[in-house]
């Protein structure tokens, strides 16, 4: 009897064994694998954005996010009340989330370590933690308009974060691993890794120190001019690399802050007199006049139904082309522009890049307004020649000045030097071709006229001790929303100054625009030129641009100079390199 029972039990076991091993093994193998084999996602880290010196401007750091499984939460009301103080969230909102018929709700994303620890200490049932990558900007809102923002899921939504999102994002990977109890990997078990490809580091042309100083000085300048806002852009004229770009705005409370809108490329304005060098570039290119050509210039001029005046109005005078630029004479400019002709003037402006985007690859870049000649009215030529009736972005205007500084070759402006991979390998950005817009001789003549503007014309406040500076002021009338430019009492202005230095070998071009300055300091020479000068004084030191006297020191190595040991070493090395180069040239020649 017992034997039969034992045989029966043995038979049952045998049948079960056969079922498991022979009849339907795949289902159980799959079930076992599901329990043991885990796929762990490997999140690709978003690449950092750094300045031209490798300083971090934006980078991702791990942060804890708090989530809950409402089905596990025993008392949603009490839990919501306890969490609201820690997470600084609305109680009713938390309560609503914790009462959902769902297995997952976010309670707080990318919270600080202290907050996460406080929630952990609470020990609430059904509350869990997850790790995410948060985007931080160590410099606060500095350069925010250029850098842009990401959303909470680290997707670029504006600025460089948006433009280079695919490069910065990288590709997620995964790890397949066989794990036993307590999550320990089973040796010899399934193990395969597809590594994550981290996002590339984006190297910008910006210089953090210059950017900060530009913001600080522009805020000061806008405050002094009692203006609505302002823009400052700085560029290396030879390469088109933008060294600093900032926009400041006065908010409703009267506080002046850096703006998140990159107005250097998205805002268009009528530039006023700073366009005159471009007009005279056309005049000289077409051999209509030379810098020393003299003509009689009246104080006012009637064209169709409009009257154009110089400020201050003067009796007819004999002025050279250089004098007209130095004194920023509207009437003189119009007279020469009429001799040049509408077609040639329009073509000249097009050559300098007005009316078209600059290929900066920045979202929302405006192309400005330069109407075709066929749509010009009788007053368009004189108006456009002095910078009214034409709209430009600050970057277009600065690029045009960079072309003059660069011997007539217009550089392609850029904000990106290149990218760097995980291993530190640098890939430079493809350099867009520069374009010759005027001959070097004409550019040199225009630059000489612009230098006189700063020496003894309207731009004397832009002088920088030790450096030869060339530039031009602009005080444009701002179009009113009701149409026209308003009458003398209610007229608003855009004051600007564009210039570069040192004249003999320009390495820095800067445009300062002050929007709606009030009071007596509304002109470009008073509102914008001082900001240019202050910024340039700082920038030449930051960029190691030697003054004329310092260059003499380079040529005469034995000369006593007050300097730091580090600077002395730099200058000595430069002098030695120059000496060796000269020796090589002599031998070769």
């Amino acid at each position: 009897m017992v034997g039969v029972l034992l045989a029966g039990i043995a038979g049952l076991f045998g049948w079960r064994l056969a079922t498991l091993q022979l009849l339907d093994p795949d289902r159980f193998v799959a079930h076992g694998e599901l329990q043991r084999i885990k796929t762990v996602p490997l999140q690709a880290a978003r690449g950092a954005i750094v300045d031209r010196n490798g300083v971090d401007l934006a980078l991702s750091v791990p942060r804890v996010s708090v989530w809950a499984n409402p089905l596990q939460v025993e008392d949603p009301v009490r839990t919501a009340r306890e969490l609201s103080g820690i997470l600084d969230a609305d109680v009713s909102l938390l309560e609503q989330r914790l009462s959902k018929d769902s297995q997952f709700v976010w309670l707080g994303r990318q919270v600080s370590d202290e907050t996460a620890e406080a929630v952990l200490r609470l020990g609430a049932v059904g509350v869990h933690f997850d790790e995410e990558q948060a985007r931080v900007r160590p410099g606060g809102d500095s350069a925010l308009a250029v850098l842009g923002r990401t959303d909470i899921d680290a997707k670029g939504i504006s600025g460089m974060e948006l433009v280079y999102d695919s490069l910065l994002s990288g590709t997620d990977g995964e790890k397949i691993v066989e794990r036993g109890l307590r999550g320990v990997s089973i040796p010899g078990g399934e193990y395969s890794v597809e590594p994550a490809t981290h996002g590339r580091t984006l190297v910008l042309t910006l210089d953090r120190a210059l950017q900060f100083e530009a913001e600080r000085l522009l805020i000061e300048g806008v405050k002094l001019a009692d203006a609505k806002g302002g823009v400052l852009v700085a560029m290396d004229p030879a390469t088109g690399q933008i060294l600093a770009s900032t926009t400041v705005r006065r908010d409703e409370d009267g506080l002046i802050r850096t703006s998140s809108e990159h107005r250097a490329v998205t805002w268009t304005y009528e530039p006023g007199s700073i366009i005159k060098p471009l007009t005279f570039s056309g005049v000289l290119s077409e051999a209509v006049a030379a810098p020393e050509t003299v003509r009689e210039v009246p104080g006012r001029l009637e064209v169709h139904d409009a009257t154009f005046k110089d400020t201050p109005v003067h009796d007819p005078e004999e002025l050279t082309v250089g004098d007209i630029v130095r004194r920023s004479s509207n009437v003189g400019t119009i007279l020469w522009a009429r001799d040049l002709g509408s077609e040639a003037l329009h073509e000249e402006f097009r050559e300098f890049g007005l009316g078209s985007v600059t290929d900066l690859d920045f979202p929302g870049e405006a192309q400005g307004i330069l109407e075709p000649v066929g749509r010009w009215s009788g007053t368009s030529l004189p108006t456009v020649a002095i910078g009214q009736g034409v709209a430009v972005t600050p970057l277009q205007m600065l690029t045009a000045y960079a072309a003059l500084a660069n011997g007539g070759i217009r550089p392609a402006p850029t904000l990106v030097l290149g990218t760097r991979d995980d291993g530190g390998m640098f890939s430079p950005r493809r350099v867009r071709p520069s374009m010759t817009v005027v001959s070097a001789a004409v550019a040199s003549e225009v630059v000489a006229m612009l230098e006189r503007v700063v020496e003894s014309g309207t731009g004397t406040k832009a002088q920088v001790a030790g450096y030869r500076v060339a530039g031009k002021t602009g005080t444009a009338w701002k179009p009113q929303s009701s149409g026209g430019y308003g009458s003398k009492g209610d007229r608003t202005y855009v004051a600007s100054f564009a210039g570069f230095l040192p004249v003999e070998a320009p390495r820095l071009a800067v445009l300062v625009v002050v929007d709606e300055p009030a009071g007596h300091s509304y002109s470009g020479g008073r509102a914008a030129a001082p900001v240019f000068a202050e910024f340039a004084r700082f920038a030449v030191r930051q960029l190691r641009i030697p003054s004329a006297d310092e260059r003499i020191g380079l040529e005469h190595a034995g000369r006593v100079m007050a300097m730091t040991p580090a600077r002395h070493r730099i200058l000595a090395e430069a002098a030695e390199a120059a000496r060796l180069e000269a020796a090589g040239a002599t031998i070769g020649g």
Binding site: A45, V55, D56, L59, S60, V61, P62, V136, P138, G139, G140, S142, V184, S185, I186, P187, G188, R208, A209, F212, E213, A465, G466, E534, R537, F538, R541, S547, D549, E550, I552, G553, E555, H556, G558, R559, V560, M561, A562, M563, R567
Partner: protein, 138 residues
């Protein structure tokens, strides 16, 4: 009636008889026993070695997991510290601390000292000959 003789049975070789003899079997038996014992010992020794090897592999895997975890933590920590360094070095934070905690005041104007006096000709000042401090004494 003729008697037919059956085939004569040949005697087996003496040596054969010696091998299969009962005395020989008795001699072999201890050797088989020793071999069997050795095999059993070897089998268990192999099992023990395998267990020991497996234990080493498991502890190695455990150490590998631990180091990988530490590596990931290290990467994260480095990233956090990198952000902190950048924050501490940022000009806005330095200005904030200077103006706030240290009570410093920004100057109304900034004065830059030129590395050479302006309009200073190249021959105005001569570098001292040799080491100007060689004759100095304490």
């Amino acid at each position: 009636m003729t008697a037919v003789l059956g085939p004569e049975r040949l005697p087996r070789a003496a040596t054969d008889r010696q091998i299969s003899g009962p005395s020989t079997r008795a001699a072999i038996r201890p050797a088989v026993g020793i071999l069997g014992a050795l095999a059993v010992v070897g089998f268990f020794a192999t099992l023990l070695s395998l267990a020991a090897f497996h234990s080493i592999v498991v502890s190695g895997q455990f150490e590998f997991d631990r180091l990988q975890g530490r590596l990931e933590d290290g990467h994260e920590r480095a990233q956090v510290l990198r952000a902190e360094v950048a924050r501490l070095e940022s000009p806005s934070r330095i200005l904030e601390v200077a103006n706030g905690r240290l009570g410093m005041v920004s100057p109304p104007a900034r004065v830059y000292l030129p590395s050479v006096p302006l309009n200073d000709g190249p021959t105005n000042l001569k570098a001292p000959e040799g080491d100007p401090f060689s004759g100095s004494t304490r």
